[in-house]
Every structure is written in C-alpha cells, then in structure tokens.
Amino acid sequence: MAAKYVGKRIKRTEDPRLIKGLAHYVDDVRLPDTLHVAFVRSIYAHARITSIDVTEALKAPGVVAVYTGKDIATTVGPVPCAAALPDLKIPDYRVLATGKALFVGHPIAAVVATDRYLARDAADLISVDYEELPVAVDVEASAKGGPVIHEQFGSNIAYTLTSGEGDIEAALKSADHIVTQRMVHQRLAPVAMEGRGVLARYFPGEEELTLWSSTQIPHLMRTQVALMIGLPENKLRVITPEVGGGFGSKLNVYAEEALLAWISIQLGKPVKWIESRRENMQATIHGRAQVGTVEVGCKNDGTITGLRYNVVADLGAYHQLLTPAIPTLTGLMLSGAYRIPAIQMNVTGVFTNKMSTDAYRGAGRPEATYVVERAMDIVAAELKIDPVEVRRKNFPAKTEFPFHTATGLDYDSGDYEAALDKALNLSGYAKLRAEQAKARAAGKLIGIGMSSYVEICALGPSQAMPAGGWESATVRIEPTGTVTVLTGASPHGQGQETSFAQIAADELGVDLNAVTVIHGDTAIVQYGIGTFGSRATAVGGTAVLIAIQKLKEKAAKIAAHVLRCEASSLAFEGGRYSRPSAAAASAVSEPDVAVGEAPAGALPEPDTEGRSTLTIQEIALIAHIAKELPPDTEPGLSATYFFEPKNFTFPFGTHICVVEIDKETGETKFLRYVAVDDCGKVINPLLVDGQIHGGIVQAIGQALYEEVVYDEQGQLVTGELMDYALPKASQMPWFELDRTETPSPVNPLGVKGVGEAGTIGATPAVVNAIVDALSPYGVKHLDMPARPEAVWKLITG
C-alpha cells in the first residue's frame, strides 16, 4: 500500500482537545450527587492496629459513611498478583488494612462525604491506636533476618529464583580476568503528572457499575475488579478517560479501585477519589530497588566468557499485579547486546515495610542494561582498552540473527555495530576523546560515557505472559464512510490515536481525518490487554493492520459482485476498487463520496449501474443497505482480529554522552547527548522522537536526581515533589537523535516498540560518563543518583 501517512512526521490528532484544556481526565468527569472519598493511611511502617474510633468522623458535616478493614474483610477480595513463580509467597492483601499496617500510606479507613474538603476534615477526626512493631527496611538485612513482616511465611523471603543457561562456573574459570562490582538500583517513583483517580457509579436498578479509572489496562481491571467485588464481569464497565501519564504505575489494580466500586454499590451513588501527590508517593507503586553484585569473566582481548548477577529485590510489603515478576525481566536481559556464553542470575525477592515495587518504565530491563553496560566499562578499564572496542568485540554480527542468548531469548533482528558506528560518527567520538585529553590536561573533569543497549518489547507472546500477550482490534467502515478503529491498547500520551489512524488511512486509502481511533472503554471496545511494555504499536498496531486486511477481503468480494468481475482481478488504489480495464483511468474520472456528506434520513444506495470503480466507502454503504450483496455475505463492513505475536521484539541502539563535572560543587553538566536508536520500522518519527526524549530524561532522573528514601523507621522522607527531585527543563541537554532501521520479522509492520528505550539505554551512558570524568581520581564506580555531594566527596577524597 502506498504510504501517504506511515513514516511521516504527522502532528497528533489528539492534541487540539489537550491544548485547549477541553480534555477529560478522571477528575474532570462530573456526575451529579457525587460523593468524595478520603483515606486514613498508616503513619507507621509496621504497626498493629489496636483500635479505630470513627465516632467523631461519622458526626462530622457532610459525612455519609466510614469504612474500615472489618467492613471489607469478607466482602472485597484481595488485591491481585498475576505473577506466577515457583514457590512464590503471596500475602493476603486486603483493600483496607486488617489487623496490621505494613507500610506508611497503607489505607486503614475510607471516609465518604459530600465534598472533598469535608471528607478530608472527617478523616482527620478518625482516631487510630497503633502498637508500633519493629520494621524491616533495609532489603539486604531483611533478606537475612530481623523482623518478619508476614509471620505465616517465617521469613521475609518471597521467593528465590535462578535463571540463565551455560556453565557459569566453568565460564568464569576460563576467564583471564574476573571483575566484580556491587551496584545499587535505587527505588524510584514513577510520578505520572496526573496521579491515580477513580470515579465509580452504580445503578441499583440495572445492577450496573461504571468505573472511570486512570489506568493503562481497562479490560484487565474490569476482570480483576469484578472478581474482587463479586460483580458479574458483564455488569462492570471500565472507562479510561484521558490518562495523565502512567509509566507502568497504572499497569496495576489497586485497592482504591475495587474499594470505590464496592462503596458505590453500598451507597447507590457515584463516589470519587482523586489521589493527592502525597498519596501518590506513598501508595502508588515504586520501581527498581535492586541491590546486586555482578561478576564478569573476560579474556585478555576483551571477550566476555560469562556473567553472574546475584541480586536482592526489594518487593515492598505486598505484591501488586506484577511485583515479583519484575526482577525476572532483569534476568532475561542480562546478555545485553552481547554474545555471552554463560549467564546466571540468582534473585531473592524480599518483603520490606515499604510500598510495593512493580513495573516502572523499563520494568527490570533498565537494571539489566545498567549492570551489563557498567560491567562493559569496568572490563574496559581493567583491560585498559577503549569501551567502544570491548563492546564491538562482543556484539553478535547482523548475520547471526535470530540470535540465541544464554538468558533463553531469541533476539529477532539487529545490527548493533551499525547503530554504534552511527553514534560514534554523530558524536565525533575520536575528536571527543582528543578534546577530553586536552581538557583533562587543563584540569577539567570531562567524561564520555556510552551504552549499547538491547531491550525487549512488544510484550508479548501469551506463553510468556501472566494472562494474555496478544492485542485486539476492530475496524469498521460506517454507512457514511467514516472509519472506526477500536483498539484493545490503552494509550495515555503515546499518540496511537494518530499512529493507528496513519496505519488505517494508508491501508484503506482514505483521509487521515476520516479515521477515529477509540480505546479505553470496555463497553465499546472488544477485550484488550492494554498499553505497557512497549507493546501498543507492535502488537496492537499489527492487530489493526490485519483486521483491515480481513475487512478488505470482504470489501473486495462485494466490489467484485457489484462491478461484475472476479475479486482477484480487482485493483485497489487510493481507496478505490477498479475493474481491470478501468484501473488505469479510474481514480480521476469518478468523484469520491465525500465523508460525512451523505444525506440525512434514508441513505440512498450508490448508483452502481455501469460503474467500473467503487470507493471502499461506497462499498461500506452497499454493505449496510444490504440489497446488492453477493450470496451468503454478512451485511456490514467490519472485521476484528486478535494478534498473537510469535516472539518479543528487540530494539537496540547506542547512546553517547559527554558531561563536565564541577570540581567545586560536584555538579554534573551535560555537554552533549547523542542517541542512535533502532526501533524497527517507524510509523511516526515525530512521536518516536518524543518517546526517546522523554525516556532519556527519566533515565537521567535516575542517574542524577531521583530516589525514594525511607528512613530507618520506614518513614517516607520523599513524600512530596518538594523532596523527590524530578528533572527540570534547565537541567536537561539538547538531544541529538538519529536512527538505524532494522525491521522486526515478528510482525508485518516491522515495528519493534520505543516506549521504554530511552529509559533503558540512557542511565548507564550517563553514569559511565561520570565515572569516566572521575577516573583521574581512581573512581571505578559510583551508585545512583550521582548527587553533587556524593561526587564532590569522591573528588575531595
């Protein structure tokens, strides 16, 4: 199909409502008689709740109801965990604390009032008596002993798992050098600019519940919440209005979502809860939080013989939807962009008195990339060879794909050297090294860092996923010729209303504006999996493409019938089916049916007498009027397809950055940032650039600024944006982007996914640059975030 839209920098169709302030996020959805919910949350990390006195709260103005753990203990099911690991310990996670509070922010009571201010006032009148218990905060200490959070398990260890292939002992033994490095992947907060929010409305007569939630997974939420509250799934409708960012934090089913649904049923009225930023920091999932030691064996020439990573993962107090599974993604990606014959990861998942960790942009892969890319630099330093050469030495050649790794994956396609070379050229690497030497001689601390990453996207084949890895699409041409695409993906800023319309418009030969992409409403859209794991375009976009191909098979049959020829002989060009003889002269000679200009009332069937061509929109009308259909043809023109990918996709790239460190303050300043990414075929380069930029900035946030800090009592120190440092415009470099394009063979679009690439690829590039800058001081590693104070201490010894 001629690409009029695919591959072009097309500005987004979703933007007008957003830039005018007319879009609807959850809190913008207004229903009459809505009640508001405020929570009482634990002020202790670990405490027995000895009593809750709600008397005063119930008397407070505007208060309608107050609920505590005893109200929901037998009526609302536990918060679900979908991860399946051998011998996994799964604690019973109730939507309100029952008996004990296990982290700061653990919900204890819910107050329902007529106004959000009054709900908050009343929450402050609830008196909770606590008996403080010893806390398990440090993840390594909690793995070894100390206070046990879930007594029934006897320890804080939720699971242990060993993964990888090859004889790691022999591989390390065969090495000329073994380098070992302990690394901390600090706990991060996703901080979507819009926190979570829920609006639940129950109609007692119809026994139907509608749940508006700021989520990435409307259908999975429908299934899970229906199970939790015991409502038939077909009586629950989940709508995701505009979603103000997710980054994995809304790839979950939370206590508040089920609780609000249940409260709405109890009261027969709409109830709303909008998360405050403080609640968001306390009780929305965190990410990363691994402490591990990597051992890498290498030959004198830089050839890597094996890699072992022993890691403890800080899971928090409970499992959210995917909590224990995140470190397994780390294990999968420990081969990075390299041929490593033997790899082993030994992971211990540990409960601590903190909020759960779960999927935050990258979800286990940034940790792997950081381990591997830091290790490559450490090996280079050990062997005194250029970091570029160590990487090049261990890349699989582009002819070796599909490439099997010792982590058990088959990388779909790749040309790692091409991306590396492009990044080296774009950055002027050789010149940069020369400039660095000069600057060093002048006493300046300049560092050059790189990272050649591979990530795993398009999650994924159902066999490898907890509950379905496919995605769905329905494509419909309406009687008036407009095209409706229903996708099971649930974009929340990624721009698939535009990019899926690009795919559809090209395939159908219609104008982009004729296509509307609908998502995020379980009553309208067929079941879907959602948006996460850089899957929406690679899996969901492919479903759109194949649904259209199915639709066109039917359209061609109708066209052949009406034009009185064989379907196989028809030409399809510019949205028009033509008889063979007419194909050449057709498109210009017969006018299009203008979209939206069909007359009101009874739609007149197109006059087909003597026609040699028909637009696909005319065929849609014929299919709906259904008087001129071939025998045994269903009326209507729509098709649905559920696409099951055969494999993941594996985007890759090389990032190079140059930093200067201020000797006096320890501050890191960017001088250059070059990123060459390969995400396969590109549907919309403008959107891909945006994903890369945003991903890199989140990676820089981890490298330099961000850390969720709990003190030794388990108190959350970084409880607001005043304390949790997000990257600002003034701190960020200008990104110089380029691409290589290696199509994925896994899907017919050839796309790989790009949502997480920046976050996965960039963190080690930045830290490698800082370590490189500090190498004159003998610095071989520093843990993130590289705060000025920590850097300054390394400089001043």
């Binding site: 957003l18 830039i19 005018k20 600019m193 103000g244």
Partner: protein
C-alpha cells in the same frame, strides 16, 4: 463563614460566595467547571495549575479563591481568541510539545508569560523560564521548540 468574591475569568464576570479555604484551582474547576487547569502536586512545584492572575503566571493550587477577589484571570480555556489558537497552543501542537497533556495547560500558560516578557528567548532562557513547570513525558526538547515556534509566530504577527 463564606465570603463574597467577584472574579473575571476569561472575560466573564463571576460573583460567588466561597469558603475562605477554597483553593483558587478548585474554584475554577469545581464551581466554574473550567477543568482545563490541573492539579499535579498541591505544593507549587509542578506548575500544572498555572494560570494568569492579572497577567502574572500564578500557581492556582496554592492561592485561595478569596485572594483573587477583584482579579482578572486567564485560564487555558481563555487563551484562544475567536476560535483561533494562541501561537503558543499552535506551537505545542506543531512541535509535539505534549504527550499525556496533563502538564500542558500550565506549561502553555507559563510559556505565554515567558515570551511576553522576553519576545526572543534563547533555548537556555526558555529552559530557565519553565523551571517551575514539570513535564514527565516529553523530555522538554519539543516544548523548547514549541516556545521558539510561538515566539517567532508572535513576532511575525
């Protein structure tokens, strides 16, 4: 004890009786239904709630409605004139200066003040001028380009 206030918002006069503790952002959103102004942090850090109060960019999550008594306010809904997008709105659209869109209204309002004060800002000046507005999606680069676009467009008008 409710207090009477009189506020002009997007060139429409409003008279209301409000609780003294009612935040200006909640007045705009809940009483006037102008939900384009968002709440992102409640502590004046993120800037999602930025509006213009008498021409000055203000974070409406940490100002009381009663403090705006007598003021002229512009919110994102009031930026376009006669259905034509403000150059800054156009710039954000053209340059892909938004993804999830949640920070966007505040970012656009702050950026309009920026180019009002400095009609031809450098990229560094744009970045510093937007330090009070956080965006978690875009990485800021397209926002910088959007502001450059708007500054140029405004100069050409």
């Amino acid at each position: 004890m409710k207090q009477a206030i009189s506020i002009n918002v997007n060139e429409v006069d409003h008279r209301d009786e409000v609780e003294p503790r009612l935040l200006l952002v909640h007045y705009l959103r809940d009483l006037l239904g102008l939900t384009g102004t968002h709440v992102g942090c409640e502590t004046s850090i993120c800037g999602a709630c930025t509006i213009l109060v008498d021409g000055q960019a203000v974070k409406s999550c940490t100002m009381f409605a009663v403090q705006a008594d007598g003021a002229n306010i512009t919110t994102i809904e009031g930026l376009a004139t006669n259905g034509n997008l403000h150059p800054m709105q156009e710039g954000f659209w053209e340059k892909h200066g938004l993804q999830c869109g949640y920070c966007t209204p505040g970012m656009i309002i702050a950026a309009t003040q920026l180019i009002d004060r400095n009609p031809n800002p450098s990229r560094d000046e744009i970045r510093h001028g937007l330090e009070g507005n956080l965006c978690r999606c875009t990485g800021y680069q397209h926002i910088v380009e959007a502001v450059e676009y708007a500054a140029k467009k405004k100069a050409d008008l």
